[in-house]
């Protein structure tokens, strides 16, 4: 801070001194270009080019040994996704189920947790730590941990179930439970995210507003539905869209917990992209799937940008 206060004063010239930073004489109007040129080139190489390449590949019969000899097939790769041999529809349905459950569960759970955290002041930091802990951990470790908690024979969850007389469950090892078991872990891991966003929203509600309503005789239930919730509507939309977009991109948990199995029970779009592109080296199919996913996510992102706009502008 001292530097800034000094920069108003007359000694600034002495403070600027003769270091490397001040010997670097860059004309003012050249500076933006000097910074942005490398950044834009970088963007082109590592982001725009890969997208264009994905589009190009999705329109071709891609030959791995000699990509330049690839044959133009228009939308063949896309229409092939609908063939019975393709796993696209399975993965698409699984992804929709996953996204739906994860979003519908995480938004209200986040809000409830925030309402609960809001009741505590001195001990809030401790509870915040517990609720948020799974988010900061690597998903790979979370996946490994739950794979074991879920273990059909030796896992503690099944031991507890046996204790209360419920038969042992297969969880991630059986097709009809696997997807739900993975999404449950994902929900458990991310409750804290919505919770802290909602908590910030709750804390920004002016005290006087609630006080005034209370004086007017509103009970707590009315307070929540008539005042708190409407004031959190923007926050709720934000959390919903962020959660939706995040849910489409699940990969780590699936890769480590089930690798798409058993059978194809937990194939989701991102896992199918990896599987088609790397394991089966069908780059055309993989690119087509990734672009379908891109379009879906883009729609939600545009909604998100619309929602965020009021915050951007001054």
């Amino acid at each position: 801070m001292a530097t800034i206060e000094d920069s108003h004063g007359s000694q600034t010239r002495d403070r600027i001194g003769n270091g490397l930073l001040s010997r670097l004489r860059i004309p003012r109007n050249a500076f933006p270009w000097l910074v942005l040129t490398p950044v834009l080139i970088y963007y082109f190489v590592f982001l725009i080019y890969p997208i264009l390449y994905a589009i190009w590949v999705s329109l071709h019969l891609w030959i791995i040994e000699d990509p330049s000899a690839s044959q133009f097939v228009l939308f063949r790769n896309y229409s092939d996704l609908l063939l019975p041999t393709s796993r696209f529809l399975d993965a698409f349905r699984n992804t929709l189920v996953y996204v739906f459950i994860r979003t519908v569960a995480l938004v209200p759970l986040g809000l409830l947790t925030a309402l609960l955290l809001y009741q505590f002041r001195r001990t809030q930091r401790f509870y915040l730590f517990c609720v948020f802990a799974p988010i900061v951990c690597p998903s790979a470790a979370i996946a490994v941990l739950w794979k074991w908690l879920y273990h059909p024979r030796f896992g503690p969850i099944n031991a507890q179930l046996a204790e209360i007389g419920v038969p042992r469950q297969g969880f991630i090892t059986v097709a009809d439970q696997a997807l739900y078991s993975v999404v449950a872990v994902d929900i458990w891991q991310h409750i804290g995210f919505g919770a802290v966003i909602f908590l910030a929203g709750l804390m920004s509600i002016p005290e006087q507003l609630l006080e005034a309503a209370r004086i007017d005789g509103a009970n707590r239930w009315q307070l929540f539905w008539r005042i708190t919730l409407p004031l959190l509507s923007h926050t709720t939309l934000f959390v919903t869209v962020i959660t939706l977009i995040g849910s489409f991109q699940v990969f780590d948990l699936i890769l480590v917990m089930t690798s798409g199995g058993p059978g194809y029970a937990t194939y989701v779009l991102s896992y199918l992209i990896y599987n088609e592109g790397i394991l089966r080296t069908d780059m055309g199919a993989a690119s087509a799937i990734s672009l379908v996913m891109f379009v879906i996510i883009m729609i939600f992102t545009v909604i998100q940008f619309r929602l965020l706009r009021p915050r951007w502008e001054y």
Binding site: T3, S7, H8, I16, L21, I26, R28, N29, P32, V35, V39, Y43, L47, Y49, P50, A54, V57, L116, Y118, Q119, R121, Q124, L128, F129, C130, V131, F132, I135, V136, P138, A140, A141, V144, L145, W148, F154, G155, P156, A159, W188, F193, V196, I197, A200, L202, E207, E211, Q249, F251, D252, L255, V256, S270, I273, L291, M293, M298, T301, V302, W312
Partner: protein, 285 residues
């Protein structure tokens, strides 16, 4: 945010009411539900193989042992994985902080042709899911000969659109007088950036730094794509490999996951508010 400054409206009046007790019990149950799995994991890492596999699981280790750690580190170089993750994540974080703040400064305090067009081009990349670019990026990195290298882990993540957006927003709030005063006194642009803009942006930089570091530290997909040499694995990739290659050695797998989780939880305990604020502000995951 989260500074405990304002008392919540529904706080009890200091007396221990029935309602207060119920609330506390519910909160404790939620906190336990989130944290007990970690405690169970850490305790299990000190149990011998037979105890973990017993049909009646124990919570507290009956036959306490550190054997899992010595066996694990002799089977796989977990210390190396840890250092790899620390190195890669630190470099990625520093590079992104530098590029984001420099671009943020340019977008916040300069006027030039096509400024908004460039800005929107960069920002719009935020909507590109990693799944879309991961395969082309893989082939690009392969053609650059950077598979199985630290460089390959860092190169695709040197510029971050959200970081640029955040730093521009923040730096637009820095009074223009400060920048002008520096210019009048003959300071170069790099000097102004380094000595005026950066010190004034520490809040935004720390939030962004926390977000980028955690995201890089936890990432699995990209290392999984390009790393096949054992000694170059990052910690999440090491844990995943352990789960695949030693699937039946649950004692080792649990121990590996513990090594992956405990350091980050300690860091989180030390700076809970900074990390929560960083993640909440930046909308991680």
């Amino acid at each position: 945010m989260f500074d405990n400054g304002s008392a919540p409206a529904t706080m009890g009046k200091g007396k221990l009411s029935f309602e207060r007790v119920v609330l506390t019990l519910v909160m404790l149950a939620v906190a336990a539900g989130m944290f007990v799995p970690f405690i169970w994991m850490v305790l299990s890492s000190f149990k011998p193989y037979q105890e973990i596999l017993s049909l009646k699981p124990t919570l507290w280790p009956q036959g306490f042992t550190v054997g899992n750690y010595t066996t694990l580190t002799s089977e796989l170089p977990f210390l190396r994985y840890f250092l790899n993750s620390a190195g890669v994540s630190s470099v990625v974080t520093l590079v992104i902080l530098f590029t984001s703040s420099l671009c943020g400064y340019v977008f916040a305090k300069f006027d030039f042709a096509y400024k908004e067009l460039f800005f929107m081009t960069i920002i719009s990349s935020m909507m590109v899911p990693f799944a879309v670019v991961v395969l082309p990026l893989y082939f690009l990195i392969a053609r650059l000969g950077m598979l199985d290298s630290y460089l390959g882990l860092v190169i695709p993540f040197m510029v971050n659109a959200f970081g640029i957006f955040l730093m521009r927003q923040f730096m637009e709030g820095v009074p223009g007088d400060l920048v002008d005063a520096g210019r009048v006194d003959g300071a170069g642009e790099m000097w102004i950036y380094w000595r005026i803009m950066l010190p004034l942006s520490l809040n935004a930089l720390s939030a962004l730094g926390v977000f980028v570091f955690l995201w890089s530290w936890n990432s699995l997909w990209w290392p999984f794509m390009i790393i096949s040499k054992s000694e170059l694995r990052t910690l999440p990739l090491g844990i995943a490999t352990l789960a695949w290659e030693y699937a039946t050695r649950v004692d080792l797998v649990i121990t590996g996951a513990t090594i992956g989780v405990v350091p980050i939880l300690i860091l989180f305990a030390l700076m809970t508010r900074t990390i929560v604020r960083g993640v909440a502000l930046t909308g991680m995951k």
